[in-house]
């Protein structure tokens, strides 16, 4: 599974993207975030306020309880400020 990060989430994590292999039982976005936070200080900072960070699954906005089954690309980013 590929994960991509944007804006200050990317800066805190320290990489723009990575391929990860989370353990069995990582079924939802919330599970994935919990596992990522165990991977180091940068991740903990990026997801310090989980309610703020947004997620998209295969280019579609999603919620923390969304299932990851069949998803190829997960994206984490701050609230959008375009326009």
């Amino acid at each position: 599974m590929k994960i991509v990060y944007f804006a200050w989430v990317r800066e805190r994590v320290g990489v723009p993207d990575e391929v990860v292999d989370p353990p069995a039982g990582t079924d939802t976005v919330a599970d994935l975030v919990r596992w990522l936070k165990g991977r180091g200080e940068g991740y903990r900072e990026a997801f310090a306020d989980e309610a703020v960070v947004r997620v998209a699954l295969d280019h579609v906005h999603a919620r923390p309880d969304a299932p990851l089954a069949g998803i190829r690309e997960v994206a984490f980013f701050p609230p959008m400020t375009g326009g």
Partner: protein, 157 residues
Amino acid sequence: MAPIRIAVQAEPFDAAAETERLLAGRADIGAVASFTGYCRDEGGRLAALELEHYPGMAEAEMGRVAADAARRWPLLGLTAIHRHGLIPPGGPIVLVLAASSHREAAFGAAEFVMDFLKTRAPFWKREHLRDGTLGPWVEAKDTDDRAADRWAAATSP
């Protein structure tokens, strides 16, 4: 369904050429509402805005917002172009054009698309300051969420 054109690009857009493209070869369009968003200099503090985006999803999400607008209003054409990269003060960032027979649909669709581009399209602004330093990421505004939310309350026309 109205012809929809979506673009995400680094280079500036040409609003006049985009309007011509919408109008070309048809005489049933009575109204074109347009919106252009520009980089402000914030009282001289700003050297540029940097716009980061999520390639692929940016186009997809803009397309979904445009399709929603085209279902909601009787449009004859809809164009949305969003730039990324470094944009100096005075430079254009975003263009939305909505064409219809009548002005209510054109205005409604252009406002709707702008409200949802702001809150749903994956772009992030960061300030580059005149003193050479990198400023903060621009924070999302509650007023933008409220502007988008009002469409859910509004009766579909």
